[in-house]
Symmetry: D2
Subunit: 343 residues, 4 copies
């Protein structure tokens, strides 16, 4: 009953099989292997748009290498105050951009409050030598609260970016879960809505360690190769990164796995939501469920073997994340543990 | 006949098997998995010394995170002018240290010339506010020329470091090949000789993508966790990095593989060395062979399917690297191609 | 009637005279001149404590070089959301620290809200590899709102710093005005209250361009010389920086000038405060006055030649800063303009 | 008899007078003062070309802010191995560029050896993800050896820059001495020869602390304002920087002072050159003289009160620098001391 995160899971069998297959024989290194050569085409097909794609091993690398391509050291990046780049990456965005400032914005259920963003943009910092130069907005999809921005919501932010000369980055560590949750075309949620660059996550969704940085405007990627190498993120045996991504895209595996994870989250939400004393606080639109529980009940669940994160001790708020390989039996067991604990 | 680099090879079967085994079940993430928990003990046993060990995925990451722990942004790091950190890491050392200067030193067959190092240290920059502060020396083992520093040679450099308050880093991307070549104890080549921190390479030697940063003085590692994370090098599914390293250490696999690779290099050197018109220019002490050949002969070999790097066009110098999985048949085929080409 | 800032003023005659005097003859450069040699003793006497002092030319340089000595690139610095280092230094703190994060805190009238600080410190980020490491608090004295922290208020923050292993930096761009306003010993407001390093401002208070970084704990200054040089802030003709600071300290000029400026601000506050339609919003404790005025009245004052900043357009809030050389006639003229405008 | 450097001198009377004059009254700050407003026009007239000009207080700031505009963190900058940016700026170039690599080149008498530059450019690093990207060449005028590049020599380097897509920076800390030495138009030595950006030095030549960054291609300056501010190099009372530069340009003061200094150097060279046992080693083309002397003689001169730098202890090589305000009596006194010492 491990619902602490989707990264407690291993990799999907299809990914492991692809790795074994790719292990055969000698191939060129540093991105010149035949698997890496397929990435641009594979993602361009997926997004119905010409993409420039670079594989890296971690979500933080994907995020901060992306951000470094759209914000200089004297720039400002606007992001939700609870976002991963703000609270969970130990200043990696500042490091890779050479010192850009993350301007934090509030917002309900993990989504940037548009009025707060407008207020920041209205400060008119652009062109003032004293001020960090407004450069980019970064949104998370699905958000840290397990919610998703609709294509229209993304476009609302993108319009503001365009109007003020900013780029729009999407941290898609759980992009698959968002697309699965919205049941929309990947294109609708990204470049059609105005996203410039996407961190396409695969690790949480069943890869071993693989993320794709997807540029929808190739000219933004001009310096990427150099930034990736000087970040230490170019794999010599690059085949192993690329083949994971290809395996995820093959036959829609990425969406199939994400739909499973999302279905488990809905089961959890349903099961926990009707228990007396439990309250699901945010819409369950991806693979995460946030539940308020009496502290004693949470403790009792843990004694029964359930693993999950305390999101806010003050609010008795707990997070349950469903990995791609959780089963309905797993969620049922958790609901049972909760039922017992809440008695 | 791919002798371009040891990174054109795949991973050893033992490593793949370990990855498959580690793929089972849920485990804690971000270094709290049971495999990562074994690293310190495994390497401490290997080196007969208390070590603090951190897995990362690339050699560049290992090198530059190490260097960032021993040199500030206003520091100077002394390294061979042909070393990987100087010519092949796209300013990653400068990036991670916050701007330290790599002071390049000449030296025969890939090894730092001691007189050149002495001349630099004699400048007396320490304490001068105008000057990069002497902070560390970095040596490569085995060197880019396929040679190795003996324990005494390492100690010669280490003594100078100690005398001037510098730390000694070893880029051990091919550390296994060096140990195999010298047939010495890992300890003799590192902490006993005065090395402070080692990039222990596994990728070139049969891992998929795994290197260990090994601190022989734990206090130097104080900031490592934060530097690794802000570099984007902390794996969420950390088990996959650590298990590769454990598999390499298990039953001495790392040395067994390196010995094979070295043996192949000796076969090549012997076979090529006696051909008329071919000259092996540096001692073959690890898994690399550098051979001068008439340009036309090199071209003819390539037409016969041999793959290898041109090391210096001006000198008609070519590099042949033997991966762990090359066979005596492979080297024989290359020698045959050379024989035909040189006729 | 130029009340836009204290930096619209020139330098005090005493400072100019000292510069002329220092201009004579050859002296050693780069800090080895006889004026620079006096700084440590002069400030140690002023603060009744052993100090390590470094002159620089700008307030931003003083702030960010200080901060770089107390916070690493993976660190977090807590500061008021309106502070100069947060909104007016174009990411200089991030640049000089190598990427530290400025965590912004709210607070009435320019002072950090203690509960907000406590909430941040209670997050327990220290030791978590995912999180910027809590490293320092920076407070501004006098604040951007023209208020001052009392010695007790400084100590309240310092206690929290000590309890959590943080350093306390004071941006004293208007430190003289704060000391003059409180009529306390400089020591009481700094090291006795727990301040570790102070940016002692002189430029706004009558110097041409000179600030002193004052370390109350000499060991924190270990890397300062190198950081200053690589920031490009070491003057070759260093005498000109140091002599300005000495002139300010001589016979208490710094306090005399600050008292004048503060007196002018009180005159303004009194004069404007009793006008119908005008409201002084924050206590006037230094040399700045913040007044709410009908927009039309502010406009009318400007047409009469009054110069001042709009602090908040939304709140019709205006800032009036009194330089050291403003006279009672100047303030009377401004009040007269306001009186006329408010009719 | 202080010939240690031109920075042991004070400021020229004309500069002090201009500072006093500029001290009157209130003016806008942060570059919006009337003096700063004149800079672009004044330098554009001087160089017979549209220039974008920014004043800063130190030569290091001028150099590294320039370089940061022409080289990214993953870039390579080619410079002479003895140049100020390489050996005397404590990694400021690396800091401001975000980690660019200074590739050092040899060369007689302070000038870059063209063959060595060609060899570097022939490596073909451009576009290789492993390599620092060739971005700029920086030359020093006059050089650290007191020699000057002729306009043709500058053009020789500039052609190479253009052919490889590099920018050309000139560190003109002693630009005035070079122009005076060559008796050429400032334009001939800069943009007409292919220089993109110039650090125009005034401090060593009689200013208190003022240098101008002069962009001959305005689009290169796009980010300068932000880089200057985040470097802490924007003066609040900016009038004091700008008026120094204007005073230097007025009525050709800068050239008049440089001609004086150069004349003194020639006097020294002549006087010392004919002494038995003394040898002037490099052509005296600016205001510096490098002389080989028996160590004992140098010591004897110092005992007679002569101050000068030991350039190379191994070579018994000494440097004598003539500031703008040295007189023929001063040089005669030094020659006399040398004559006595060499007996």
């Amino acid at each position: 009953m491990d619902f602490r995160s989707d990264n407690v899971a291993g990799a999907a069998p299809e990914v492991m099989a692809a790795l074994l297959e790719a292990n055969k024989g000698d191939v060129s290194s540093y991105g010149a292997d035949p698997f890496s050569a397929e990435l641009d085409a594979a993602f361009s097909a997926l997004f119905d748009h010409e993409c420039k794609v670079f594989p890296v091993a971690t979500g933080t690398a994907a995020n901060v290498l992306s951000l470094a391509c759209v914000a200089p050291g004297y720039g400002a990046i606007y992001a939700h105050q609870d976002s991963h780049i703000v609270v969970d990456e130990c200043n990696a965005p500042e490091f890779y951009t050479g010192g850009a400032k993350l301007v934090t914005l509030p917002g309900e259920s993990g989504k940037i409050d548009l009025a707060a963003l407008d207020a920041q943009l209205a400060l008119g910092w652009t062109g003032s030598q004293h001020s960090a130069q407004p450069s980019a907005v970064s949104i998370t999809q699905a958000t840290e609260a397990g919610t998703v921005y609709s294509p229209d919501e993304v476009a609302d932010i993108a319009h503001r970016c365009k109007a003020h000369g900013l780029k729009l980055h999407m941290d898609g560590a759980r992009f698959a879960n968002a697309v699965a949750g919205l049941n929309c075309a990947p294109a609708d949620l990204t470049w059609r809505a105005g996203v410039d660059v996407l961190s396409f996550g695969a690790t949480k969704n069943g890869a071993m360690a693989a993320e794709a940085v997807v540029f929808f405007k190739p000219d933004l990627a001009e310096s990427f190769l150099y930034r990736r190498k000087r970040g230490g993120h170019l794999f010599s045996k690059s085949r192993y990164l690329s083949v994971q991504l290809l395996a995820m895209l093959e036959n829609g595996l990425w969406l199939r796995l994400a739909r499973e994870a999302n279905a488990r989250a809905r089961e959890l939400a349903e099961g926990l939501g009707k228990l007396p004393g439990a309250k699901v606080v945010w819409p369950v639109q991806a693979n995460e469920v946030f539940v308020q529980l009496p502290t004693a009940a949470a403790e009792a669940m843990r004694q029964r073997g359930a693993l999950f994160h305390t999101w806010s001790e003050a609010d008795s708020l707990y997070r349950f994340v469903c990995a791609f390989d959780k089963t309905s039996d797993d969620t049922a067991a958790l609901v049972q543990a909760a039922t017992a604990a809440l008695k």
